[in-house]
Symmetry: C2
Subunit: 338 residues, 2 copies
DNA sequence: TTGAAAGCGGTACCAG
DNA sequence: CTGGTACCGCTTTCAA
């Protein structure tokens, strides 16, 4: 006997009352006899009755589930973001459906489909790095499932976004180095087309400008962010005629690779490094960046979740239709390790 | 007009046929007119019809969702495990509901409740470290929701488990050190009552025995795994009259802490270290463990997911009731970094 | 080949 | 205060 979960009807039958009465009793409906109420509650307790939420969901047309799709969990950025999302979700009696796209568009599409099928009430997405076709997102909008994008955001109009302004952090990073007396500062950036890369470059330039220094394009190289690419970029930048004393690295991971390479190749004057991410592991390194730009993933996740819940809850409000779009931009911040 | 998703009935109405016909047409039911079938499919396509899975779920009594509850995502062990779970889930058209207990029993209970309410088909759990009361798990079993425990497993009878045998890895670790000539090997273990600690100690002793060496209890200390605790344990063990040349550390994180401390306090002869976890970041350290024991989290996750799906699918098979319990034990393996 | 109707587990309205 | 009933969206059996 695979004792299936007890239902409201079973309780009704055993008590010889109608199941609507049972339903009301369980909900403390005001107009219900105290006696029956107690009887019902007692039996429900005994049977270990639990309302079948899927039934409730069906008739409410909601699932109290928010889907989260992100590239992967390997980078500590994303676990932190999820934690922020989960925190808000839990407080609102929502639950989190997780999917990793592994930076594959194909898989991202699959996940979006799957979450749509499961009728999530809303979706929070950090897009796969190389997704360029946004049909699956459009389809989602058509299905009337709200999305909030964060971190890696598609260039679509009329979407909700949460992101971290890297420009401010970049300015801080470069200013920090300038204040320490560095004048020839290299920038090993990510792929040129990435917004993230553009923002870093922008900040780099602005900081120079502020200090009335001329921007020298030969001090900037791009890496494809693979280990080999990073090392190649390092050597390329070190070839510069001017003596580079400091490097701004696109990401802590890139910093790790080039620091290792600097170590292996035994450079005599190791450049000072400033990077991005503020990975927790950094503190354990001996030769580490002097500082790293924090992007507050937890906060980003939290914000994204708050927004999606807000949208879900106001979905049927006439006013909020198709007009306002959230664009939350947090400021990044340089964390000094010394 | 918050255009709600089109339903089977709408299609039926527009086509002036009954909605059961529509349902069948959509499912390629054999006994359906080719003409109507095409008409229906065409309109469904146009309207962007998608079956409401929550309705399907309700009547199937399934949600195609598996819940995963684990302490947190900060340690790379868990993201890897999730990836394994997700892989299997996706292949089987299941979806993953995630919850982090943050090693709080209270929160774990909450999550279990929440997942029960959402009627997950099965649950995969790595228990919060200090959970000692198992009522919430028992309740789950009563609700007929299958659970597979992995990694941190409660001491309950009649449960399904996936775990990694740390004894074999520990033997390898100590043997490795012995082969290198070390004779005075310290063990900085975790909290005494943890299974994980017991297994490490067990392996430590067995390896000594195999090599006809005497076990010296004074070479073993326990840490509470906080940073302070780790450092304290290190100094305690270094006080030993015998000269410790190698240390087996409970976990890479502990190794990190004590290596940092050894560095700071400028010990002249730094002991060789072997630890557990094989964290990806280890490769970037200069002073790093010589080797680390891998626990194959991805595989553990994968196995756990396979089991839970197997149970779910055979749930209504008479045979499989309450008899067999999976106890999968993977072997750990020492990874040499040199 | 198609329609009608029951039922999955609830909620909520209308009667009485 | 309680029972009856319609309905949420879909699958499936029974009849026609």
């Amino acid at each position: 006997m695979p004792k299936s979960a007890p239902t409201i009807k079973e309780i009704a039958r055993k008590l010889n009352i109608s199941f609507s009465t049972v339903s009301r009793a369980l909900h403390d409906h005001p107009s219900i006899g105290l006696g029956t109420k107690l009887k019902v509650k007692k039996l429900a307790e005994e049977l270990g009755y639990e309302p079948n939420q899927t039934a409730v969901f069906l008739q409410q047309g909601k699932t109290y589930t928010i889907g989260v799709i992100l590239p992967h969990l390997a980078e500590s950025f994303f676990p932190a973001a999820i934690s922020g999302i989960e925190e808000v979700a839990i407080k609102n009696d929502y639950v989190v459906l997780l999917g990793q796209s592994l930076d594959s568009t194909e898989r991202e599409i699959m996940l979006v489909e799957s979450m749509r099928k499961h009728r999530v009430d809303g979706l929070i997405i950090s897009m796969a790095k190389n997704t360029t076709n946004y049909e699956h997102f459009e389809k989602l909008k058509k299905s009337n499932i709200p999305i909030v994008f964060f971190d890696c955001i598609p260039s679509m109009k009329e979407i909700h976004t949460v992101s971290c302004n890297m420009i401010s952090g970049s300015i801080q990073a470069v200013s920090y180095l300038l204040k320490k007396g560095h004048r020839v500062i290299g920038l090993i950036n990510g792929p040129e087309k990435l917004t993230a890369s553009k923002e870093r470059l922008e900040g780099y330039q602005q900081a120079l400008l502020k200090n009335r220094l001329k921007f020298d394009p030969s001090l900037v190289v791009n890496s494809d962010l693979t280990k080999e690419g990073n090392i190649k970029a390092l050597h390329e930048i070190l070839k510069n005629k001017r003596k580079i004393t400091a490097i701004v690295a696109f990401h802590d991971n890139l910093a790790l690779d080039i620091m290792q390479e600097l170590d292996i190749t035994k450079q005599e004057h190791k450049p000072v490094i400033v990077s991005y991410a503020n990975l927790p592991m950094m503190q354990f390194l001996k030769y580490k960046p002097n500082a790293s730009v924090e992007q507050f993933p937890y906060l980003q996740g939290k914000k994204a979740a708050e927004i999606i819940l807000d949208i879900i809850k106001n979905k049927n409000n006439e006013q909020n239709q198709n007009n306002a779009f959230y664009k939350i931009i947090l400021d990044s911040k340089l964390i000094d390790y010394h």
